[in-house]
Structure formats: C-alpha cells, structure tokens
C-alpha cells in the first residue's frame, strides 16, 4: 500500500457519464445512497436520453448522473462537476464542456478505441494528444481490469463480465471519497439473489474497484466530506416521484378513503404509477388505462364512488385530460391531477425538465373553468404537496392540479421522514342524509347546496340511501343541480365556481430577507427553489441584500402576495419557460416584474441566477 494524504472537503460534485447501457443511473443511485448514509446533505440530477438504447458509443446515447454532497445544506445538484467519470469518448465529449479546468477526469481508456473515437468525431485520442492537460486526468482501463478481476468466473461470458464495470467504477469512487459499500452489497444481494454467479461477480467488481484505488499510485489522496448538521430525525433519500407517491398514500391513510390511480404511462411521470402499483398493501388500486383520457376518467369515476381519485401524467397528457378536468369542475368532485412537466411543445424533450405547463393547467380548458394549482419546490416537498393537493380537493370538492417537473421527479435529496401521527388531520365528510326540505316540508337532498364557509357541495356517493341524484356536465341549477339553461343561473354558477376556488385557504407567502433591507425580491415557483436559494446565498455572501420567496400555491395565490410584491423596488421572476408566472403576476397585480427565463431542459445554474440578480441589484443601488 502506498502512503497518501487524506483531504477534507466541504463539498464535492461528481458526475458519472457513460453509454445508456453502462448503468450510470444505477451507479449514481448507489453512490447517492452511500453518501446519504454518511450523513451528508445532497442533491442529485439524473440526465438521460429519451431513447432507451441509442446506438452504442454515440453522443445521443450518453446518460449521466450528477451528485452534489456536502458538510452543509445543499440546495442544487451543483453547477459544474469537480469529478467527471467518463466511461467512453462520447461521455467525455458530451460532458467536457461542463468540466471546469483543474477538475478531475477519470476515463475508461478501454473504450477509447479508434472506432469509438471516430464515432464522436475525435480525430485523435484526447487522452493522449495533450488536449486534456488542463484537467487532472486519471486514465483507468476500467473494462479490462474488471474482466481480469472476474477471470475466475468461468460461467460468465466476456460481455457479462464487462457489464460489471460500473460496479468497479463505483468501488473506485467509494474508495476515493471514503464511502461505505455495505449498502450496495445488500442491494446487489437483493437484486441478484437468484443469480449467484452474477451476484458474486458484481460484488467482486465492486471490491476490485476499491482495491484498485488502494493499490495504484495514480491517486495521490483520498477525500473526506464530513456529515452535514441536520435537525434530529430519521432520514432517507427520496426522489420527487417517490415522495409524491408516498404523499398520496399518506393522504389516503389520513382521510380514510382508498386511493385509486388511473394513469397511462408517460415520461417522466411513470415512476409514480410504478411506485403506487407496489403499494397494494395500503389499499391502493392502480389502473393502467388505455389512454390519458381513460386515466382521468377512471380517477373521476372512483372519486364519484368516494375514493381519492388521482391521475398522473405530463404535459401532453394534460392536453388530453382537459375535457375531463372541465367535467370535474362542473361535477364539483374531488380529483387530483399530477403534472410532471417536461420540455414541450408536443413530444418536446420527454426526459428533460421545464415549467411551461403553468398556463395550460390554469387556463387550458373550455369555458370558465377554475382549478386550484399547486407546485412542489423540492423532491421531498412533493410529499407535502401531495397531501396538500388531496386536502384542497376533498375539502373544496374540486379537481386540483399538482405541478412537479422532470428535475424534481428524478432528482433526490435527504428527507426527514415524518411520523404518521404528525401528518395533518384530513377528515372527509361524506353526505349521509337529506340536507334540505321541499315545499311540502319533506326532507330532500340538494346536491348543489353549498357549505357557506367553503362553498363546497356535498360529496354524496352512490350506495347512500335517500340521496339518489343525477349530476353531469350540462349547466346545473344552483342548489338543486337540475339541468338549467337559465342565463342568470349560468352567470351565478360561473361566479360561484370561481369564488369557491378563489376562497381556497392557502398559507401566506413567507419571505426570506435576513437583513430586512432588500430592495429586490426574487420570486419563484416549483423546482427553481434550490437554484434561487443558492443564488441568493451567493449574492448575500458578496455583501448584498436580496429577498427571496417561493410560491407553492399558484391558484389561488397566497392572500399576502400583492402586499409582498409592493414592498420591493424590483421583482425578479426566474422561470424555465418564457415568463408564464410573470404574465400572471403582471395581470393580477399590475407589477412590472422582471422575467428571467431559460428553456434548455436543464435547471438553472446558481451562477447564472446570481448574475441575473446582481444585474438587477445594480439598477436599484
């Protein structure tokens, strides 16, 4: 063993990049779990192509996973990696532009063959032509060392042995950053329990990677990143989609109503369907529908029957569900519509993130069709917002749209898991008896007689004797719910439905302004929470005052929003669209907000937002 130094770092950003078939997402997930177990705070950003297996070794086939971990609270997956693991020339070419000079590059030399180099247009091998001299390059023959380490596994083909190279890379990085591998060993035992030779080979590759680090002299030091101080509690790492699924189940548990999901597979929402289909033990029914329209129809039918009806989709699916959302507005039944936004229009960028469905979910229906709109701000917040969506839907008998996006869906962070008893109470009242009397004094049921406080109508489910009634998408007479074409009644019903949504009680907007002297407010919504908070930290560390606030309720807005906006000389609104929230704010509050937008399919970097804020600060100083 060679003697080497141990350096302590406060934060590290690692990016694993390889071919779609190289197992980079799995490698990243495992490194993340090990890091979470170490007690670091962290944030992750998977980035992969829409194609399941693009042609091997090509730029379109590159898949990557970035992890930012630190001894302090982490707000973003990091602007740029400190370490890039490039499994082939394509991964190097696609990711080198993001790698700052002086950063570390670990490259799998075995894949840098003339053929693979030619595939991505390298005229010469960059590992040998001196073009990478500004970076710390560690050439490692990852594939051949892995195959050599697995020589004793006679029952495996060379291809099968090569496939374990991601475990070798994981072992090497685990050694470099002093991560325990016991969690990964347990994971592999579960995954390959039925294939003992494959299991043994993967474990051997993992150990070989670790041992390679320890024995080779190529690496001058190992690194330690100490645990981050976090509030006491039990933690797990969670992606947005997992947190959202758990939130829906928790809401079902708290309301005492069964959860029924109607859903059609669509990226990046399908993982919620997968997760919930495995939670039958919690009384969860999942129905994979024949199309997006059926998905929401099934959810609405279940809601009519007294279940928590949920449909999950992405932007294209919302377009198809619009008519049924309108029906739910008219029926005034609880329904949760989850939109995991992705790049659009049309098929757009299925695996990339965007925030461009806000106006679609606000207004993309015929007629005056208001629905409450909520947006989660971090992966873990998807749990809380799923509960909130069910609360609003059931309390006000209305469809609710919950917005997330591809970044939150697949990104992950540590989550302090709540105790069930600490979750909000969510009692749901089903109508049980007549609620009025007719002219003759006989008790009758009026399906559109509203609760004066919430304007919600009764939720009277089939099977309840004496409450037989008919509902539908034709305009209904106030109170009785009978068909009505009366002009005054229609005007009244349109305004009642609007008033009900406007009256949804939402928490006030909290403003983060540590000095209380800020003249500029940065206001965001959704997954820009992390980048905005990180940018505000940069600006404040440079000695400037800036205020920051984040909307989780987009319809209705928090009651204090107008007053908050009026307090600042400038309001900057960063969005991953071309200014949709900005348009709503201008229309509603007549405030000349500054829109800062980017639609690159990737989250904002901290640096670009800090620059944008600084530019505005200069204007008001």
């Amino acid at each position: 063993m060679t003697s080497r130094t141990v350096q302590t770092l406060d934060r590290v950003v690692i990016r694993f990049a390889g071919d779609s078939g190289d197992g980079m997402q799995l490698t990243g997930d495992r490194f993340t779990s090990e890091t979470a177990a170490m007690g670091n705070d962290l944030s992750t950003l998977p980035n992969f192509p829409a194609e399941i297996r693009a042609p091997q070794g090509t730029l379109p086939g590159v898949s990557s996973f970035q992890l930012h971990f630190a001894d302090h609270d982490v707000l973003t997956p990091g602007d740029a990696p400190d370490v890039l693991v490039a499994m082939n020339p394509a991964a190097l070419k696609a990711n080198l532009p993001d790698l700052p000079r002086g950063a570390t590059l670990i490259a799998n030399t075995d894949e840098f063959s003339a053929r693979n180099l030619a595939k991505v247009g390298y005229p010469a091998n960059p590992l040998e032509d001196g073009s990478l001299e500004s970076w710390h390059v560690h050439p490692v023959a990852l594939t051949s060392i892995t195959v050599e380490a697995l020589a004793e596994f006679g029952g495996l083909t060379r291809k099968e042995k090569e496939r374990a190279k991601n475990m070798f890379a994981l072992g090497l990085l685990s050694w470099m950053y002093t991560r325990p591998t016991t969690g990964t060993e347990a994971f592999l035992e579960k995954k390959f329990g039925g294939q003992p030779e494959i299991l043994a080979a993967n474990l051997a590759a993992l150990r070989a990677g670790w041992n390679y680090g320890e024995t080779t002299e190529d690496f001058a030091s190992t690194f330690v990143v100490n645990p981050a101080p976090m509030p006491p509690g039990t933690y797990r790492n969670v992606t947005g989609n997992t947190a959202l699924a758990l939130g829906l189940v928790a809401a079902s548990h708290r309301t005492g109503r069964p959860l029924v999901l109607g859903s059609y597979p669509i990226t990046p929402a399908s993982d919620i369907l997968h997760a919930l289909s495995g939670m039958k033990r919690h009384g969860v029914t999942t129905i994979q529908a024949e199309d997006e329209i059926a998905g929401i129809g099934i959810a609405l039918g279940a809601a009519y029957g007294g279940s928590i009806g949920v449909t999950t989709t992405s932007g294209p699916g919302i377009a198809l569900k619009s008519e049924t959302i309108g029906l739910a507005v008219s029926l005034e039944l609880p329904l949760v519509v989850v939109d995991i936004q992705r790049g659009g229009p049309s098929t757009g960028l299925p695996t990339k993130t965007e925030q461009a469905d806000l106006l679609q979910v606000m207004f993309g229906r015929n007629g005056e069709s208001p629905v409450p709109v909520l947006a989660a701000q971090t992966p873990a917040d998807c749990f809380d917002m799923a509960l909130e969506a069910v609360r609003v839907a059931t309390a006000y008998r209305t469809p609710v749209v919950l917005l997330s996006d591809g970044y939150l869906a697949n990104g992950s962070e540590p989550w302090a898991v709540p105790e069930t008893a600490d979750l909000p109470a969510m009692a749901v009242d089903l109508a049980a008896e007549p609620n009025a009397t007719d002219d003759a004094g006989e008790p009758v049921f009026r399906p559109y007689l509203r609760d004066p406080a919430t304007l919600a109508r009764p939720w009277a489910v089939p099977g309840t004797p004496g409450l037989e009634h008919r509902i539908g998408g034709i305009e209904k007479a106030d109170v009785t719910g009978d068909i009505s074409y009366d002009p005054d009644n229609h005007d009244r019903m349109v305004r009642l439905r609007q008033a009900k949504v406007d009256g949804v009680v939402v928490p006030d907007l909290e403003v983060d302004d540590p000095t209380g002297e800020a003249k500029v407010l940065v206001l965001g919504w959704g997954s820009t929470y992390g980048p905005i908070a990180a940018a505000a930290r940069v600006v404040r560390n440079a000695g400037h005052a800036v205020a920051r606030a984040h909307l989780r309720h987009l319809n209705p807005f928090p009651a204090n929003l107008g007053a908050v906006l009026a307090r600042y000389d400038r309001v900057v609104v960063p969005e991953m669209n071309t200014g949709q929230l900005a348009m709503l704010l201008r229309a509603r509050y007549l405030v000349d907000v500054r829109s800062y937008t980017s639609v690159r399919g990737l989250p904002f970097t901290t640096v670009e937002l800090a620059d944008a804020v600084s530019t505005t600060l200069e204007e008001v100083s």
């Binding site: 797990r236 548990h253 009384g283 129905i287 099934i298 029926l331 898991v417």
Partner: protein, 365 residues
C-alpha cells in the same frame, strides 16, 4: 335464460346488496325521476326508458346501489330520468368513468348508456378496452344510425350511401357492425334487441345485468327526426318474420314464417347459409347450426353477427355470446385484498410510517 342456467359461478349482482325481504315491492314509478323527459315526440328512447324503468324492479336491488353513467348524445340524457344515482359525463368517456367506479365499488350495479356515435366513434377506444378487460358493468348501446343531438350527420353505423347534412351525396363511410366489433374486442356478453320488442328487451337486460363482466346490448332505436324508419322493415309485421333471426340457445337458427321457414346450416367450407327447412332435413347441404352462446370460441357468434347486412335481409336478435371469464375488477380487488390480508389487515399508522421510511434510513441526533 340466466347465468345460473349456464352453470356460471357468480352473478354480476353478486356483491350488490339486495332489497330486504320485508321491503315494499318496487314499481316503475320508484325508478322514475321528477325530471321532464325532453326527447323528441316519437323518439325510440321513450320506449327504452319505459322498458328499463319497468324492468329495474325485477332486479330486486336498492335504488341507491344502481348507477347509470352516460356519455353525450340523445341517449345519454337517460340517467336524468331514472331515480337512481347517475352521471351524464362527456362524449365517449362513460366506459372509462364506469370502469373506475365499478372497480372501486363492487357493491354497485353499474350501467352505461351510450349511442352509436358516443360508443363507436369518439369513444371507440374506451368501449373496446372495457370489453377486453371485462369490467363488471352493462353497456346499453342505442343504435339509431345517425347523430341526432348535433342535428343529423351520418354516424359510424349509418348505411353506406346515407344522405345527411354532412353527406349530401351519400355517406362513403363503411359502417361498424357493433356486435362484430364487440366480439372482436373479446366481449364476454353480446346481445342485440329491438326497442319495440319490450318482452325480448327485458329478458336480455336481465341476462345482461346478471352477467359478471362487461355486457354489451345493442338496441336498435328509431330517430323519428333525422333517420326515421331506419328499422321499419324489422318492425313491419309483414316483413319481420322473414328478416329477424331469433337466437335461442340450444335451438336451430331459423328465419321466416312456418310455411316458408329457412334453417341455417354450415356448409363444408365453413360458410353459413340459410336453406329451406325441408332441404336442411337431409343434411346434404350442410349441418344445421345450433345456437350456443356459451361456446368459448367466439367464431360461431362472429359468423352469426355477419348474417346481418346493411339491407337487413337477415338480422339476428338475441344473445350472441355469454361466457364466463374472470372480470378485471374482481382481479384488481383480489390483488389489493390479498395484499392487505397477507399483511395482517388494513395499514396502521405504524405500517404507514414503515412505508415512508423505506429500507434505507439513517438517524441524526
């Protein structure tokens, strides 16, 4: 014929609570809502409504456990006129909504009312998938071969050449045969009835309600405004005997009056053909086809559905297919119930906390 006669294990109404024995007898008026019926005078829908209202008491169910879900179109106003639970939804989507309801509520008798445009055009996808899944519900498809509520355009069942507002030179669309379509979509119960034959209609409705799975009943219905007389040759007493082929389980398939009866035979090539009764007796021109809706292979039922031609020379009526196959909703519920039972009963607070924590946790402080 009922499902019990067929030795089927479970009725479609199995989990729906019946009326208590001491409950007053239900009558048609118990299922009649207070809403004014707003179909055109002479519409066939009135006849079907009356038949359904007078049939529902025969089920012996509590009104609150019956739900009618409809789409859009003239027929889809149906739920407003029944004093049960009802939802008038959106165009074509009723089978999807009913799937969510029926799967989550086994205690309900779920009915879908739809039309030829609603079920076969805009809602075609939901219809075929409901049939293939075999969700426990009954679909009444009113076929008047025209779009009525939009004031008279040709529909997916209009005969070729039909002159309408949107086909002034005659429709060039090739129509669906709803029975053939349903059989191709793996339906387990398919029947056809005439709106005007109330006795036959009620018998089929009862068999459909008691069928466990998706039952599709096509009902020929006259639109007096935009397609009047579409089925007149079947209603005309002088012609109906020569045209209507009544399907009766266990019997030979015949058409025509006693003195001119024809019998359906299967020829060596497999082709089905009507031949004179006396010719059929020799067996030389083919084997007499005996109707058996319980055949697992849908081929014979499909062949029968093809006897129907646009000119209505021969139109089979009755139950084409009636077979037992596990229903989607039963299977879904058994998976959920099985998981809950295996875990020791409904999830407790501790069970939820364990779910939220997952396998990989760490503790701070």
């Amino acid at each position: 014929m009922t499902t019990a006669d067929l030795g089927m294990p479970v009725s479609g109404l199995q989990n729906v609570p019946p009326l208590p024995d001491d409950a007053p007898r239900q009558a048609k008026r118990d299922f009649t809502s207070d809403q004014e019926v707003r179909w055109c005078p002479g519409c066939g829908d009135y006849v079907i409504l009356a038949a359904v209202q007078s049939f529902l008491p025969e089920l012996g169910l509590r009104r609150e456990n019956i739900v009618f879900v409809s789409g859009i179109g003239c027929s889809s106003r149906f739920p407003y006129y029944l004093d049960t639970y009802g939802m008038h939804s959106i165009h074509g989507r009723a089978p999807a909504i009913a799937t969510g309801l029926a799967t989550s509520r086994p205690d309900l008798s779920v009915w879908v009312v739809t039309g030829d445009g609603d079920a076969l055009s805009i809602g075609g996808n939901h219809l075929i998938h409901a049939l293939r899944r075999n969700v426990n519900m009954t679909i009444l498809l009113f076929n008047n071969q025209i779009y009525g509520l939009t004031k008279g355009q040709y529909s997916p069942t209009s005969r070729p050449g039909t002159v309408t507002k949107s086909s002034p030179l005659g429709s060039v669309d090739s129509p669906f045969n709803p029975v053939s379509l349903a059989l191709g979509a793996e339906a387990t119960f398919v029947a056809r009835a005439m709106e005007s034959d109330r006795a036959e209609l009620k018998e089929i409705l009862k068999a459909a309600a008691e069928h466990r799975g998706t039952a599709l009943v096509e009902i020929y219905q006259n639109c007096p405004i935009f397609n009047d007389g579409a089925f007149e040759v079947l209603k005309d007493r002088s012609q109906q005997e020569a045209r209507i082929v009544r399907l009766r389980s266990g019997e030979a398939i015949t058409v025509g009056a006693e003195d001119d009866r024809k019998v359906l035979v299967r020829q060596g090539s497999g082709v089905m053909k009507f031949i004179a009764e006396e010719q059929a007796e020799t067996g030389e021109k083919g084997a007499v086809v005996v109707h058996d809706p319980t055949l697992d292979d849908p081929s014979q039922a499909f062949q029968l559905s093809r006897l129907d031609t646009p000119d209505m020379t021969h139109v089979p009526m009755g139950i084409f297919r009636q077979v037992a196959r596990p229903t989607y909703d039963d299977l879904v519920r058994s998976q959920v119930d099985g998981a809950v039972t295996a875990a020791g009963g409904p999830a407790t607070d501790e069970d939820l906390t364990a779910l939220l924590r997952g396998r990989d946790t760490w503790t701070v402080g």
